[in-house]
């Protein structure tokens, strides 16, 4: 008993020190406390953003009156710094207060997740990637569409001026890679967002309502799922004009059946769970039961599927690019960069290798996070 009290006193003292430390180095106290995931991420973001602020000061100042995406980047920069600092301050101070009561399922999932090292590493990569994507206008050394001297600067290998070389139009590969991150991540995020929303709603309705409605929805799901997805995508995109909008829309509208199936399955089991019966017995409306009691409980596998889905979508976009159906130039996406660069793999290997690796590591991160989430969100797997 005395031991635990002593321990908690020292913990509190350490926390006070932590607060001071967190004012300068957010994340450091958490790192010191062994929470390398949260702490490392905070520190990484903090230092990274500070570096941008210092190294690209001129660009930052310029951005104040720049285009909307420059201003968005600026806002992101400020928001990221503020969030990290604020979180770290709050978190470091939390250790001082009384132990929190009421640990929700999400809290438990977060705890389980943060123990999974590979998944946390994946999450760090993803957060950093999204941050980079938003900060791109401040980060990119060159305009991604800017063509250099076509005679002397084409296919220049890795060099100081062009860390990742140049392409056939003497454009900077690094800048294009950074801008490509925006497109690829956006496509993944938005199309999965669409498909998950549709899938969750339709799945929940099918599962909860049953009967004819269920029959119809599930037959449609069967049909769409029976289709080799890629063939359907190619058919639609090839026959219409490829554009980011079309790609996102088609991906979003063809990927939902998987989610719908998952949600329906979950809802069918949940529907038999007694808390749902209790909700009915308490006179709750169907809408309330679906939105408040079924969907939140069915969401865990959906989140997992969505995470994995973003990765899959990025790979799919690359595949479409291979067939010339991806995002159209001059807009860079990783998929088009890999696909275009493949023809010169042997003499300008950097053209497709870097975006290729970017895809692999991004998708890998999403998959690791997805697997981690699966383990963390499934109470059965939580030890």
């Amino acid at each position: 008993m005395a031991d635990t009290m002593a321990a908690s006193t020292t913990a509190r003292a350490r926390a006070r020190g932590g607060r001071r430390l967190s004012a300068f180095l957010p994340g450091a106290p958490q790192l010191a406390a062994g929470r390398w995931g949260a702490g490392g991420l905070a520190l990484l973001v903090w230092l990274g953003c500070l570096w941008v602020l210092v190294a690209r000061l001129a660009r930052v100042v310029e951005a104040l009156g720049g285009s909307w995406d420059e201003r968005l980047a600026l806002a992101t920069l400020v928001a990221a710094l503020a969030t990290v600092w604020g979180w770290s301050w709050w978190d470091a101070g939390r250790a001082e207060g009384p132990r929190r009561v009421g640990v929700s399922q999400w809290d438990l999932a977060v705890r389980a997740f943060s123990k999974n090292r590979t998944a946390v590493a994946g999450l760090m990569v993803i957060v950093v990637l999204y941050l980079i994507a938003l900060l791109t206008p401040l980060l990119a050394p060159h305009d991604p569409a800017l063509q250099g001297d076509l005679i002397s600067e084409r296919y220049v290998g890795l060099s100081g001026a062009h860390p990742l070389g140049t392409d056939q139009f003497a454009r900077d590969v690094l800048s294009r890679l950074l801008y490509g991150a925006r497109i690829s991540l956006l496509i993944g995020f938005v199309s999965v967002g669409i498909s998950v929303t549709i899938g969750t709603l339709l799945g929940a309705i099918a599962g909860f309502m049953g009967g004819i409605l269920d029959g119809i929805i599930m037959r449609v799901v069967d049909m769409v799922i029976s289709f080799p997805q890629l063939v359907l995508l190619i058919t639609i995109i090839a026959l219409f004009e490829p554009s980011i909008f079309l790609i996102v829309a088609v991906l979003g509208l063809t990927l939902w059946p998987g989610t719908a199936r998952i949600v329906r399955g979950e809802v069918l089991t949940l529907r038999e769970r007694e808390f749902v019966q209790a909700a009915t017995a308490l006179g709750y409306s169907k809408r309330r039961i679906i939105l408040r009691h079924l969907i939140p409980n069915a969401l865990a596998p959906v989140i997992v599927a969505a995470t994995l889905g973003i990765g899959n979508t990025i790979v799919l976009e690359a595949g479409l690019s291979f067939l010339g159906l991806g995002v159209q130039p001059p807009t860079p996406s990783w998929g088009t960069m890999v696909a275009d660069g493949r023809n010169v793999l042997l003499n300008a290997w950097w053209l497709s290798t870097f975006p290729g690796l970017a895809i692999v590591f991004t998708v890998l991160s999403f998959n690791l996070v997805g697997d981690g989430l699966r383990d963390a969100l499934d109470p059965r797997l939580r030890s």
């Binding site: 009561v101 438990l108 308490l282 006179g283």
Partner: protein
């Protein structure tokens, strides 16, 4: 009957009430009247498949329940006792029969009527894990009920705390999540949720079956206290005969979707008349090593038949150990018949049995 001598009773909660329970007024109309309640589940194949057969889960159940009374409903798994409880609340739509609650035809209610009814009838489930939404904190769960029914104004949180305290939990618990509670505490939460709408009638669906013995006693005591305080009416569904005897005023025994015997608890346990009730009672293991040698046990042969294809005539006849078993048992379904006892209230109170050859008198020890 020999009783084991027990040591000192452990530190008890408030002293037990001196005698059983308050007398029940059976002069007025019953709070709940159930007539020929039936629920047949169709057995389908595929999503548009045709109905191949019916599971006759509940097959003509009738009973009355007066205010403040506890009716115990016992039977083995699959006998239809849970389905009965749920059909009463229309959590499962009954396929036949009549349910009247306080004079109202429950089966005829529309959505608003049903909503109103559900403020008066509630249910407590067996599984303390599955019956609570794992994503809602206790406070959120209780406040939601109050919000939906427009209760507990102005401060719902105070009301939630009040409810928690009523079931023996404390205000500290309000921000916790179901998984942070033990089984017994979760069952208390289930009770608190049911009480939040201030119902008159509770279906208790195996409320203590999943609990350890020591905790089971706590919950049983709580239920009895609440009944005494709030004048609640219980339908207590369980498979544990000892528990049912302990809490019930009257007891109904179900077998294959039908009530085979219905009587005052004391009468049923002392002189069961149906062969099934007798075998059931004799099969209960007793914590009485001294008397075990002298007890005679009726061990039934075989298993309970499938409710999809129940036996003709008396559903119990294939397993019935009664020496007088005859052709009528195989051919004719016995009705629930018996003598209404006078002087204790309504017509339907008495000892009823659905058997062509009911036993008389006390069984052998």
């Amino acid at each position: 009957m020999t009783r084991p001598v027990r040591g000192d009773a452990p530190r008890a909660e408030p002293a037990p009430p001196p005698t059983g329970r308050a007398a029940i007024d059976r002069n007025g109309p019953p709070l709940l009247e159930v007539r020929d309640l039936a629920k047949h589940f169709p057995v389908r194949r595929g999503s548009f498949g045709r109905v191949r057969a019916h599971v006759r889960a509940v097959d003509g159940v009738s009973f009355d329940l007066w205010r403040g009374e506890t009716l115990g409903l016992v039977g083995e798994s699959g006998c239809g006792k849970s389905t009965t409880g749920r059909a009463l609340l229309r959590l499962i739509e009954p396929t036949g029969g009549d349910v009247r609650f306080d004079g109202q035809d429950v089966r005829a209610l529309d959505r608003t009527g049903l909503r109103a009814l559900r403020r008066r009838m509630q249910i407590v489930f067996q599984d303390p894990v599955g019956s609570l939404n794992p994503r809602l904190s206790v406070g959120a769960m209780l406040e939601e009920v109050l919000t939906v029914h427009g209760l507990g104004l102005p401060n719902r949180r105070d009301r939630a705390v009040e409810l928690l305290e009523r079931v023996g939990l404390s205000a500290d618990h309000i921000d916790r999540y179901p998984h942070e509670f033990s089984g017994g505490q979760r069952q208390r939460l289930g009770i608190a949720r049911a009480l939040s709408v201030e119902p008159d009638f509770l279906v208790l669906d195996e409320p203590v079956s999943a609990l350890d013995v020591s905790v089971q006693a706590q919950v049983i005591n709580l239920l009895q206290d609440l009944q005494a305080e709030l004048g609640l009416t219980y339908l207590f569904i369980a498979h544990d005969l000892a528990v049912v005897e302990h809490v019930s005023d009257r007891v109904a025994v179900m077998y294959l979707g039908r009530i085979v015997e219905l009587a005052e608890a004391s009468a049923l346990y002392a002189e069961a008349r149906h062969p099934y009730t007798r075998s059931l009672l004799s099969a209960v293991p007793r914590p009485d090593p001294v008397g075990r040698a002298s007890r005679s046990r009726i061990v039934l042969e075989g298993d309970v038949p499938s409710p999809i294809d129940p036996p003709s005539g008396c559903p119990f006849h294939p397993r019935c150990p009664h020496p007088a078993k005859d052709a009528s048992c195989r051919g004719i379904v016995p009705g629930l018949e018996g003598r209404a006892e006078s002087g204790r209230g309504g017509e339907r109170v008495g000892h009823f049995v659905a058997c062509h050859h009911p036993y008389h008198g006390t069984p052998a020890p």
